[in-house]
């Protein structure tokens, strides 16, 4: 069975801001491997695992592979995290 091809980023891109209730997401293309996330958050101890899972799930569901995600969270709600990840990916697809 042929392995399903994932989308690849063309460039590093960011979305969001380091402001209250927002999250700054930076996505960069990796040469190979799984999507990985590096998270800094004001609520890391309480929600770190959940935020990382939401970021990875959003990137996976959007069909991307081999993306490195750096996230600086200032207490963003789930919809904002998802929106900023999708925004960064969209920007990263533009040449």
């Amino acid at each position: 069975m042929q392995e399903k091809m994932g989308k690849s980023l063309k460039q590093t891109a960011t979305a969001g801001f380091e402001e209250k209730n927002d999250i700054l997401i930076t996505v960069s293309p990796l040469n190979a491997g799984e999507n990985t996330v590096d998270l800094t958050s004001t609520v890391l101890h309480q929600y770190g695992r959940q935020i990382k899972k939401l970021i990875i799930d959003t990137v996976n569901d959007a069909g991307f592979k081999s993306v490195k995600i750096n996230a600086i969270d200032k207490g963003a709600w789930d919809y904002t995290i998802k929106a900023r990840v999708l925004g960064a990916l969209e920007r990263g697809m533009k040449a």
Binding site: G16, Y79, A83, G87
Partner: protein, 302 residues
């Protein structure tokens, strides 16, 4: 389901569409409608992420208020059609079209809405339109614009309109008198609602009260607001007083009595009552009920 053409819209609050902090708290102030803006309050470089943020917010948060998204102009900017592609699937109640000048712009947007409604199996009219008149050209076409079947309200966008007129805003509002009157007439002719423009000096509550009272007395259904503290004031000014409600009930009771007992001429407190007075009395009672007033409690004041 409330008829979108008659729904209570005393206040439509602007919420910048790229601010999660403001979006998160938008629903707590009790505005009748929330207008998430991805047009003028958003920098050109952030249009792409603002539209995604608003779409995700609409999909994820259950807002009590009516939801409206102000998109960028569909033909005069390169952003408007992309805004629609991202925003429409998130099912806002209304799309607000800025700077409308011609019915063809409304038709273009309505076609996109129709396509998305069909794709998702939503009933026709799930998403409707409010247009803003912000130029003389738009004003000259306002009657046709108001009559589009998806149009539920028309709004005045004064800042651009005044720039177009080559004048400035004054405390008396004389520069806007003609346009306010004209769009109001067009709205009434088309049986849709009419929303007044924003009052941008949030510190001047006295000036705000004067402007809201004036536009209310002209016949406007509501006001666009830019700060939560303006909401309470508009709602207060748009809620009939106890005396007005009591008087209206008296008129309606007298009318009912006349109907039942086949009385011809009708008088309340020595004043003759005819058709238009009954219609106005009913509107007072409807406005009060819509604002949450227990109308029956006011009957004893009559």
């Amino acid at each position: 389901m409330t008829d979108p053409k008659t729904k209570l819209r005393r206040t439509m609050m602007f919420v910048p569409g790229n601010s999660p902090k403001m979006i998160n708290s938008a629903d707590i102030y009790g505005a009748d409608s929330l207008m998430f803006d991805i047009e003028d309050s958003i920098a050109v470089t952030e249009k792409d992420t603002a539209r995604i943020l608003v779409a995700q917010a609409l999909k994820s948060i259950k807002f009590h208020s009516e939801t409206v998204v102000r998109i960028n102009h569909p033909t005069q900017t390169p952003f408007g059609l992309d805004d629609l592609k991202v925003i429409l699937p998130s099912k806002p109640n209304l799309i607000r079209l800025p700077k409308v000048e011609d019915i063809s712009e409304v038709e273009l947007v309505a076609k996109e809405i129709e396509r998305v409604e069909k794709e998702n199996g939503w009933p026709e009219g799930t998403i409707n339109i409010i247009s803003a008149i912000e130029s003389v050209k738009g004003l000259y076409n306002v009657r046709e614009i108001c009559k589009h079947p998806r149009m539920v309200a028309i709004a005045l966008g004064a800042e651009d309109f005044i720039a177009n007129l080559k004048t400035q805003r004054t405390k008396t509002g004389i520069e806007l008198y003609y346009v306010r009157s004209q769009i109001l007439m067009a709205a009434r002719d088309a049986e849709i609602q009419c929303m007044d423009t924003v009052f941008s000096d949030v510190k001047d509550m006295e000036g705000f009260e004067r402007e809201v009272s004036n536009s209310r007395d002209m016949g406007f259904d509501g006001k666009s607001v830019i700060h939560p503290k303006q909401i309470t004031e508009v709602h207060r000014l748009y809620t009939p007083t106890d005396t007005q409600i009591a008087k209206a009930l008296k008129v309606l009771d007298a009318y009912d009595d006349a109907q039942k007992n086949h009385k011809g001429v009708l008088a309340v407190d020595g004043k003759m009552i005819d058709g238009p007075i009954v219609v106005r009395a009913q509107r007072v009672v409807d406005q009060a009920s819509a604002a949450g007033v227990n109308v029956e409690e006011k009957r004893c004041l009559a």
